[in-house]
Amino acid sequence: MEEILKIEHLVKTFGSNEVLRDIDFTVSKGDVTSIIGASGSGKSTLLRCINMLEEATGGKILYHGKNILAGEVNEDQYRTKVGMVFQSFNLFSNYSVLDNCIIGQTHVLKRSREEAEKNAMEYLSKVGMAQYIKAKPRQLSGGQKQRVAIARALAMNPEVLLFDEPTSALDPEMVGEVLDVMKALAETGMTMLVVTHEMAFARDVSNRVIYMADGMIEEEGTPEKIFTSPDSPKTKDFLSRFSAKNV
């Protein structure tokens, strides 16, 4: 499969604190990769480095072979291709649901308002939020906000979508509606990189699981491999803590 992102020896330090050490992995077209691991293992930082919200300290992030860290790709254009869904939604509170999904298209991609609206409506329908186009973010529930945030990211027609713990800020009864949307999205062949604590999602939806510990990739493999017979004792130990939660 065609490689979209290739991460080589990625390092990120905050002062003397090494958050990411020597991360290597590849994201190919159509991959649905789940990144799991304890809090503080560097999962979110990794995602934020890939989206350049954090500046990596060392290493390379190759996007179709071009190193984005060396400025070989325009940062803003790159971000339109690598979308991001945040734990805290980050919908623009000064715009309606529809405008949230349009503003990036019209101002960044320079699409016409008409075209942008059509595209936005398509994705808002897909996430089941088409009825709410006139609402402001503050009028929505957490699950609804996250579905709009997914539609906003998709409306830019990205190649890869990064999810940074998309269900962690949600009430338990809202987690399902967001995971359903993500599952449906995965089935369309969208390339996704998902940092998650939802083990059921990692096991059932993704085709690859990365387990991170202490800023490093401890183990990487198919969900079957990671969840049934992990090689590393650390992975085994981490997953055993979830067994009680009926994974």
Binding site: F86, N90, S93, H107, S125, G128, K134, A153
Partner: protein
């Protein structure tokens, strides 16, 4: 009946009758200066506040960083000096300084507008900086993540929200300006307070003239604060929203609707 024979209310009526048009003119001047200067002050405040909250890009060269640093120092000095000295003295300093040092005679209007605007700008700069900092950092990240440039992020996402957050403070500034234009009487601007002094000087009716002028000031500020409150409510938009008709949307998008049981329908 002479003024000496009148009672309090008759004197007030007499003042209104005889000097009504002067008071109206003074009030109009006061309002014009206050509104124009608050608006200009906002423009200055937004410009300064924006620069103050700009962080140098990591890839920027030493020259660019140096310029930004220098500009920030100059602007901080501007803010501190104009917040830290009385506007009455600033008025005298600028008005007489310009004529003595540069032989420039600022007219009454331009002097008034320059002084009040830059004074308001100094206060607004801090207000805007606070307004920008009060916007959730997630808003910036959300904007950057869909590829907006720093400029687009500020213009489309951060500043509109900052503006809404600082609306009460802008209203405050307008009301302060309506009252504080009275210090411009020191350079001879014929505004409401100047009119009060002329009337009381001519008739020796300080109490009545003061009462009339105070009432006018209060009406002006009260009306303004109500109007601004109304604008704030407008900016918030309706507290309810209508659900769009699903059928029409499904028709335009050519897609089926979300089924809560089945999840998304991609």
């Amino acid at each position: 009946m002479t003024i000496a024979e009148m009672n309090f209310f008759q004197r007030m009526l007499y003042i209104l009758e005889r000097y009504g048009s002067s008071l109206a003119k003074g009030a109009a001047t006061t309002m014009a200066i206050a509104i124009i200067c608050t608006l200009l002050g906002c423009v200055i405040g937004f410009a300064v506040g924006l620069i103050q909250t700009t962080e140098p890009h990591k890839k920027d060269g030493i020259v660019k960083r140096g310029i930004l640093r220098f500009v920030k120092v100059v602007l901080t000095a501007y803010v501190e000096v104009f917040r830290g000295t009385p506007m009455m003295l600033q008025a005298a300093f600028i008005y007489y300084g310009m004529s003595q040092l540069f032989n420039i005679n600022l007219g009454m209007w331009s002097a008034a507008i320059i002084i009040v605007s830059i004074n308001t700008g100094a206060y607004m700069a801090e207000t805007v900086r606070g307004g920008i900092l009060s916007v959730d950092p997630g808003q910036r990240e959300g904007a950057r993540a869909i590829g907006m440039s720093h400029f687009q992020t500020m213009l489309l996402v951060i500043l509109p929200q900052a503006l809404r957050n600082i609306m009460p403070q802008i209203g405050n500034n307008l009301i302060i300006n309506i009252k504080d234009t009275c210090v411009l009487s020191i350079i001879g601007t014929v505004e409401l307070f100047f009119t009060f002094r002329s009337i009381s000087g001519a008739l020796y009716t300080y109490f009545e003239a003061a009462t009339v002028t105070m009432i006018i000031y209060f009406v002006l500020t009260f009306v303004c604060s109500r109007i601004l409150r109304f604008v704030e409510t407008k900016m918030d938009g309706p507290s309810n929203f209508d659900l769009a008709t699903t059928d029409t949307l499904a028709f335009t998008s050519g897609l089926t609707r979300y089924d809560a049981n089945k999840g998304g329908t991609f």
